[in-house]
Symmetry: C2
Subunit: 192 residues, 2 copies
């Protein structure tokens, strides 16, 4: 039995969900990284995480509390970059991928208040050429140190929180959702 | 032998160092978390990391590349909260600690362009009462999901990157440092 208080909390959190902000995990294989990414997604209110596993299998996530963000998120598996592109385009999302070149923009210069999908690549290989090919904009996290990369879960969190900061300013966490949308998810969440 | 190009890169990075921004690791015991924190510190240009291990031992960090940020950072061990407080006060730093209560400020509302020390607490127990007692301001990271906490290395990175964002706007990465300060560190770095 779910208490009325918990139901109210779930409703509040469902209203916070940012349905026009998504993360794509492209062949990220370490379960700790995936768990941490899902936790950050839940924290900033991402609703749906896209999974694109073309040459890795999606890792088995542990049962520890750190992995439990999984149950509060929707997942959409895509079998190819083309399918991913169509899915995101249908939602009018701009597709971002982390990659440094002359055309890449700092995450602080991107307008994250618009519908956005962020592709995060494999730990060793980074974002694939196929992912870069479907990206509308390359992005990078400014770095000022001797080490030239961040852990993928850290990079995801830093990017998502910049989106969160911008969306807080625009009061995008205060936009109420369609009641049927809330109800459908609430029914699922109350059974978890 | 260090190439001239590498020396120039080191000089550039030393000039980026934010000597008035520091992280305090308070009894953080997981080596992966500590390594990830150090990597984020290096990335945003933290120069000195404070270590306050009063009831845990500082973990042995692995030899993987992810742990190698350690060698590019200065460390200051403090044996007590009082010693930490005096050290930070001598540098005119405002002391922040992550803790949610009515007086806590969002990380997005803090002015990180001023001299700042951020205390990050143990994975399970969080920031200690003694750390809260020496903190000038409690801070929190806004969260909108069902899971109520972030991994400590993710929380550190998100906070440091908000500081980084503000400091970029104020051009604090462009302030040249004293040449003796650079030289002393360059001598050390060239031997690494």
């Amino acid at each position: 039995m779910v208490t009325e208080r918990r139901t109210q909390r779930m409703k509040r959190i469902l209203n916070f969900r940012q349905t026009d902000l998504t993360v794509v995990c492209e062949n990220i294989h370490d379960p700790h990284n995936v768990s941490a990414i899902l936790r950050s997604c839940d924290a900033v209110g991402v609703n749906t995480v896209h999974l694109l596993y073309t040459n890795e299998t999606f890792p088995k996530l542990g049962k520890k509390s750190s992995a439990s963000a999984k149950k509060w998120l929707d997942f959409k598996r895509c079998r190819s970059h083309l399918e991913l592109q169509e899915t995101l385009r249908d939602q009018k999302m701009t597709i971002y991928a982390t990659y440094i070149d002359a055309s890449a923009k700092s995450i602080f210069e991107v307008d994250w208040t618009q519908p956005s999908a962020i592709i995060m690549g494999n730990e060793h290989r980074g974002v694939s050429p196929e992912a870069l090919a479907i990206a509308d904009q390359k992005i990078f996290i400014p770095m000022f140190g001797m080490i030239e990369s961040l852990n993928v879960s850290v990079a995801t969190a830093v990017t998502l929180y910049e989106a969160c900061r911008q969306r807080l300013i625009k009061q995008q966490y205060q936009q109420l959702k369609d009641s049927a949308w809330i109800k459908e998810r609430l029914n699922r969440w109350e059974k978890l």
